[in-house]
């Protein structure tokens, strides 16, 4: 795995309802360095559109969003 996709930190947000996944991701992204990746696992279907919307608000890049049953996984790169 190259440095570009290396996960620096991972958050287990399964079972949390909005607004908590975004609250935790907002905090978690500040704990990785600029350019690094934060991984987040959620189960709230609302996060499928909420986390990309949060990315548009903050400018952080949603590198990947994947869904397996009720489990949703995001890879987010801190951009600033």
């Amino acid at each position: 795995m190259s440095d570009a996709t290396k996960i620096s930190k991972s958050l287990d947000l399964k079972g949390l309802a909005c607004p908590m996944p975004v609250v935790k991701i907002s905090k978690g992204i500040k704990e990785v360095a600029v350019g690094e990746i934060l991984e987040a696992h959620t189960t709230d279907p609302g996060s499928l559109t909420d986390i990309p919307a949060w990315g548009r608000t903050t400018g952080h890049e949603i590198v990947d969003a994947s869904q397996d049953g009720e489990n949703i996984r995001f890879l987010i790169r801190r951009t600033s």
Binding site: C18, P19, V22, S26, T49, A53, W54, T57
Partner: protein
């Protein structure tokens, strides 16, 4: 100050009474763009997504006028509470959030009386979150529904208050835009489903076929319910005429526009069927027939009592451009010029409405939310 709460039914009353408040929708911009609260009068509404309150609290709070009552909605209640607490902490005097979330608005049914007589009562259940209408006929201690939504508890409560038993559920056609309550009512209280075979052939639940010319009755002295086959929106599409005067049209006749015949992927064939229906059965209707549609596009179609009902003559006049078309080729050209994609969940909803697939309650909520897309004419951009 503490954060208050309100229900979808309370919000509907405020919208009807034009009360002065700010509706703050804190869902993300994509969800807000897909589906927002609509009412009979203009609404003072702001969309400031909750993630903006998380990231830029001061700037977001500054967007909210301080001299207004603030009423907050979100998807599931958590975020509206979260934002409400922030506003209360910033000294806002009158803040409340919608309990349950936007789905309770999507499911809300608001009954209004169309006619109340000794022999029967006819009720329109307006569903402001879907822009759709279902109907109830009460007579002799029985109640029948027409095109019920999946919020069956609302109908059962209504029947109980009337001292009636819910015995029949009529379907005008197999809906694509919302999940029907008929099967649930059959399971819960044994209501007889009456539905057109043309749309329900593959249904896995028992139903009585609605055949053109059949006459149904409720109770002892109730009015006649006459079955009139009006294919076009779907091949099975059927209208029910009550007491010879009120025509429940489903998605065949609307107050504005007409039901789109392209949802089944056979736009040309179905538009030909619809043209035949329009130029035969519909044109033979007595002009004073009161049309009771399954949907509306805009609240301005409602009458002074906020009921969606109009005489056929008025509908012909209002939609003169459509009803004046005198051949199927031009009619199909009109349909084609208004074609637009249908929401992707419609195919799945059609399967659910025949009992062919089962999906859990949460999934149903997600699929069932949002305004209908059933009229042939393009919606005016507001």
């Amino acid at each position: 100050m503490t954060l208050g709460s309100f229900t979808a039914a309370e919000m509907f009353t405020w919208l009807v009474n034009q009360e002065d408040f700010l509706l703050l929708d804190v869902r993300n911009d994509e969800e807000f763009g897909r589906f927002k609260v609509e009412g009979p009068h203009p609404i003072e509404m702001l969309n400031v997504p909750y993630m903006e309150f998380i990231e830029m609290e001061a700037e977001s709070v500054a967007k909210i006028p301080r001299d207004k009552k603030v009423r907050i909605v979100c998807a599931k209640e958590g975020s509206s509470k979260f934002v409400g607490e922030i506003l209360v902490n910033h000294g806002f005097a009158d803040v409340a959030h919608l309990t349950v979330g936007i789905k309770s608005w999507g499911n809300l049914l608001a009954p209004a009386s169309i006619v109340q007589s000794e022999a029967y009562d006819l009720i329109q259940f307006r569903r402001p979150g879907k822009a759709s209408c279902s109907y109830g006929l009460v007579s002799g201690g029985e109640m029948a529904l027409f095109d019920p939504a999946k919020n069956i508890d609302a109908y059962l409560d209504f029947a109980r208050e009337q001292g009636s038993r819910l015995t029949k559920s009529f379907e005008t056609h197999r809906q694509a835009d919302y999940i029907s309550g008929s099967e649930g009512l059959h399971r819960r209280v044994g209501a007889e489903i009456v539905a057109p075979e043309g749309d329900f052939k593959e249904a896995v639940f028992p139903y009585t076929p609605a055949r053109h010319g059949d006459r149904h009755r409720l109770g002892s002295g109730g009015p006649e319910i006459e079955v009139i086959h009006t294919p076009g929106h779907t091949p099975g599409s059927t209208c029910y005429r009550i007491d010879g005067r009120y025509l429940i049209t489903g998605d065949t006749v609307f107050i504005q526009s007409i039901g789109r015949p392209d949802l089944g992927g056979m736009a040309e064939a179905w538009s030909r069927m619809l043209f035949t229906t329009m130029t035969t059965i519909l044109s033979d209707l007595p002009p004073e027939t009161i049309i009771l549609p399954g949907h509306y596009m805009d609240w301005e179609e409602a009458d002074e009592n906020l009921i969606f009902a109009a005489p056929m003559a008025a509908i012909r006049e209002r939609n003169a451009d459509i009803y004046a078309i005198d051949n199927p080729v031009d009619f199909y050209a009109f349909i084609k010029s208004n074609l637009r994609p249908q929401p992707e969940e419609y195919a799945k909803i059609r399967e659910i409405n025949a009992g062919l697939v089962q999906v859990d309650a949460d999934q149903q909520e997600i699929m069932d939310i949002g305004k209908n897309e059933c009229a042939a004419s393009l919606r005016a951009v507001s």
